[in-house]
């Protein structure tokens, strides 16, 4: 039935006076002679575009405020006083406005603007990274005068100059559109690039010795409409017409930003952000954008390894798989399925997780399976009334009971920041270490570990805060803010919040790329099974006959390093599936080489439960294979075929057998570019925890350990452009506490907890809560994991001079 059919039918069926009232948001305007219905407050350039009329532009970007810098979008607008030349990106539609985007005058204006923009442009297109995908090139071709009257010498600048470790600036090419600077200021909140000087000397600059070290700098390269900004990892690597590409989803963290993955000659060369309205709005963080370098790394595992008298040596897949199967069969014979533990699965696709969950639970029969590695909240949080990212970014009040989103879930940070900046939401933050959103928060409570629950209860009792919470919708972002404090405290604080705010929705701030998918698709303990901590404890006690690590590195990931070490030593047999030989997989008896992101297709689930596709763009490194294929092959050898012959079959099997994923098929996903949100899973254990506050000896400090965006994770460490951005571990102490501890800023000290001690440099940091010491987790230099006891409620430590 066509639209007009509906109109006639409803007109015939309903009496005229029942006609719906005119839409108060509709504005009728004329666009090149045709009447169109624009929306109230809509910019002319946007309304025209929605109706198929693309007005050329350089500075306008629909995710940022308009500034009218470039004048490329000039059109003629008649608001009743005759046609006037108007900047279409700065003017909103008004009733009966007549817009002409193609008159002779408009053409002349466009030619003039382009001639002027090119007056100083170096036209070094043959050596410019943007050449071939450059809006300036394209629009000059489409709307330009064809030739220039300028014969004068062009402006010259030194070029290119680095404005950060990742981004270079060529001021000769810059057309001063204000996109990069607006992004830095409005979107990222890192206004470290600015226009300086005036008139003909106007240029983009950073302050001396304060580079544009934003976590989001790569976005400026993507939105620069010329080749003025280029990114170190891609400079001179390819020409756009040589690139092949596919749409995918970043699985570096659980935000799940939509991307385009581009390659040339079977090598990944660039990721670009895709505008997914419910998720990333086109933005990516630099870690997600540039860590393709790790996938191209020569240190990748190219083939499976098996342990011999000479250590781990390369072998054939047949040999490796049967070795792994033998290890598992022997373990079953030695202790039964309860003595087998499977950890990981959060770094692959949904299909990888589903196949591994089937293998672990149904084929091997082990109940001890877990995708959370002791550094997040329990899976039960997924069973709560789940918020989407949009729910959070439109809530009246956002309660943060989470790690620093800027460090762990960067693009979620952008969305929350936008909600605050545009006055939609107020943020109430509870944190043991003030961070990226503290400056945006309406109220921020920095608490000492052990007092989390009390702090939340006290805040809830405050009438001003209660009034704010009662004003409208509330979304809670819940995650693990401190690896040196038990999760029970956060769970209990979350329960306190939910008891007071029964209608609040919860967004799980789970971190690893597909952890939500893995947990929902079965990578969690069956009744009576062990979680990752208990599995490692059992392994340390020699009670695990076979430990299977699926893309998981307990030595780096698990907060309690000592336990991880003892577990790897105590497990009788270890099978690892990994893309790199990590410190943990070095202990394995068989290492199965896994295909990485970009080398396999399937689907992934982000933290809100949104399922989107991930796509293969290059062939797997060496003979490595996707995890689901490895699981399928292993299951065959173990005598029970999972029966998957293609990734699509795994997707369908998950859609058939996991209620949460019902209907989420390859076909359905092809129809929904923004993905499909999986229903909140039933049957996930409810969260429940009691933690008791413990007093702190006044000589002691309480440890806060959390992650920075750049750490020793393989994706970062194996990407040369990112690796050096990780800072060495230092102990951050409040300046007033430094004196109390009797140590000196910049000197090495000894931190000792009941669990162990490390030597580490001290730094003064005013953001640190008094009485606590903050140490970044998984950084080079000193391993804070040595201090953490995962069975303790909190970690207290002494600071001593050497």
């Amino acid at each position: 039935m066509t639209l007009s059919d509906t109109a006639t039918e409803s007109a015939a069926e309903s009496p005229a006076d029942d006609a719906p009232p005119p839409d108060p948001n509709a504005v009728s305007v004329t666009l090149n002679g045709t009447t169109i219905i624009a929306r109230k407050g809509e910019l002319v350039i946007a309304a025209a575009e929605r109706h198929g009329e693309y007005i050329p532009r350089f500075c306008y970007h629909d995710r940022m405020n308009p500034v009218g810098m470039c004048r490329m979008c000039l059109v003629e607008v008649d608001s009743g006083r005759g046609p006037q030349i108007t900047v279409s990106c700065m003017v909103t539609v008004a009733p009966d406005m007549k817009i002409d985007t193609e008159s002779a005058t408009v053409k002349r204006m466009q030619e003039g603007v382009l001639e002027l923009l090119l007056a100083n442009h170096p036209l070094d297109c043959p050596v410019c990274d943007k050449g071939g995908e450059c809006p300036l090139q394209d629009q000059t071709l489409a709307y330009g005068p064809g030739e220039s009257r300028f014969v004068e010498e062009k402006r010259h600048y030194e070029k290119p100059v680095p404005i950060s470790d990742l981004v270079f600036l060529d001021r000769e090419r810059c057309i001063l559109c204000d996109r990069c600077t607006r992004f830095a200021d409005e979107v990222a909140g890192d206004a470290m690039i600015q226009f300086t000087s005036r008139g003909n000397n106007t240029q983009i600059a950073t302050f001396p010795n304060e580079p544009f070290s934003s976590y989001f700098s790569g976005n400026t390269v993507q939105i620069c409409p010329v080749g003025a900004l280029t990114a170190q990892p891609y400079r001179f690597k390819a020409r756009p017409w040589d690139l092949e590409q596919t749409e995918s989803t970043c699985t570096t963290c659980a935000v799940g930003c939509r991307t385009v993955v581009q390659s040339s000659r079977n090598e990944l060369l660039r990721y670009q952000g895709v505008d997914s309205d419910p998720v990333n709005w086109g933005w990516l963080c630099d870690r997600g954008r540039f860590n393709f370098e790790a996938i191209n790394s020569d240190s990748r595992l190219a083939e499976p390894l098996v342990r011999t008298a000479d250590g781990l040596v390369p072998t054939s897949w047949n040999a490796a798989l049967s070795a792994a199967a033998t290890l598992i069969t022997d373990a079953l014979a030695a202790g039964g399925a309860e003595r087998i533990g499977v950890l990981g699965g959060a770094r692959g696709t949904n299909e990888d997780a589903f196949a591994w969950a089937r293998l672990a639970h149904d084929v091997i029969g082990s109940p001890n399976v877990y995708a959370q590695l002791g550094d997040g909240l329990p899976a039960g949080v997924l069973g709560l009334n789940r918020a989407t990212i949009d729910d959070v970014a439109s809530a009246t009040t956002i309660v943060l009971l989470a790690p620093d989103l800027k460090e762990e879930l960067p693009v979620l940070y952008l969305r929350v920041r936008d909600a605050v900046q545009n006055k939609r939401s107020k943020v109430i933050e509870f944190t043991p270490k003030p961070g990226g959103l503290t400056g945006q928060a309406w109220r921020s409570f920095g608490y000492e570990p052990g007092t989390q629950v009390g702090t939340v209860q006290q805040a809830l009792a405050d009438p001003v805060i209660a009034a704010q919470l009662a004003k409208g919708t509330v979304a809670i972002v819940a995650g693990r803010a401190n690896l040196a404090e038990t999760t029970a405290a956060t769970v209990q604080a979350l329960q306190a919040l939910l008891a007071a705010l029964p209608d609040a929705k919860v967004l799980p701030a789970f971190r690893r790329g597909n952890v939500v998918g893995a947990l929902q698709l079965g990578m969690r303990p069956r009744p009576g099974g062990l979680d990752s901590r208990s599995t490692l404890m059992a392994a340390a006690d020699g009670k695990i006959e076979c430990l299977i690590l699926v893309g998981c590195d307990p030595l780096a990931d698990f907060p309690d390093t000592d336990l991880a070490r003892r577990a790897l030593a105590g497990a009788r047999r270890i099978v690892a599936v990994d893309t790199f030989l990590t410190e943990s997989s070095k202990h394995a008896h068989v290492v199965l080489a896994a295909a990485a992101y970009g080398e396999k297709s399937g689907t992934t689930t982000n933290l809100e439960g949104r399922v989107t596709t991930v796509s293969q763009q290059v062939t797997p490194h060496g003979t490595s294979r996707p995890d689901w294929m490895i699981a399928t092959a292993l299951s065959k050898l173990l005598g029970s075929d999972l029966g998957f012959t293609s990734v699509g079959e795994v997707t369908s099997a998950a859609a058939r057998t996991v209620a949460t994923y019902a209907g989420i098929t390859t076909e359905a996903l092809a129809q929904s570019p923004d993905g499909i949100v999986a229903e909140v899973p039933a049957g996930i254990d409810p969260i429940n925890a009691v933690s008791s506050a413990v007093g702190r000896n006044s000589y002691d400090f309480r440890l806060v350990a959390s992650r920075k965006l750049y750490d020793q994770a393989v994706g970062t460490a194996m990407s040369p452009s990112l690796a050096h951005l990780a800072v060495a571990a230092t102990a951050h102490v409040h300046p007033l506490d430094i004196e109390r501890a009797g140590v000196h800023v910049g000197s090495d000290v000894k931190l000792s907890s009941p669990k162990g001690s490390i030597i580490i440099r001290v730094e003064a940091d005013e953001t640190v809560v008094r009485g606590t010491v903050w140490v970044p987790f998984n950084q080079a230099g000193a391993n804070v994991g040595e201090l953490i006891d995962c069975t303790a409620v909190v970690t207290d430590l002494r600071i001593e001079n050497l």
Partner: protein, 210 residues
Amino acid sequence: MSRLTDANIKLAKEIIGRYPRARSAIIPLLHLAQEQHGHITNAAIAHIGELVGATSAEVLGTCTFYEMFKMEPVGKYLVNICGTMSCALLGSDELMHRAEHTLGIKAGSTTADGLFTLEHAECQAACTEAPCLQVNYRHRYRVTPDQLDALIVDLRAGNLDGEIPPHGTVARVRQHIPAGRAVGAVAPEDATDPPVWLSTGPSINAKTPK
């Protein structure tokens, strides 16, 4: 040490308090820094950024937009000779030649003793009095080359100290707004009370904005 002095920090805080948004004070604070030091240093820019909660790059952007903020050392006396139409017709070129000769420097530079900086300027809005120049933005009208020489002698001798303060001095009488009359750090859209100048003002202003 070219950050703001303690006395100027105090003043800076008072100035910031006059605006609903701290960063509105960037320009007055740049003047303050220039007054303290004769020109604006990077350290002062960073300091202003800290005081108003802006990045150094933002303060730099504002600072470099305005001709009157100098980021390099300037002599005690900044001599700007207008070279725009009226002054050009009535002899500003001769004036500039004489100035360069007498001071022994080219336009755009500063004398070795740090006393004079000479600059070309655009129209100084005194075209009827052409040719004209400014010393630290104080006008001198219908200047002949000989009068220019005499002016330089007077400045050197300190004869004009009462009239022309050193470069960077914005005004010699400092405005003070009592705290009670300052707008304070509440942004207009966040204000619940009517603005102070309305609430205590005459009845004509009684209509309070919502």
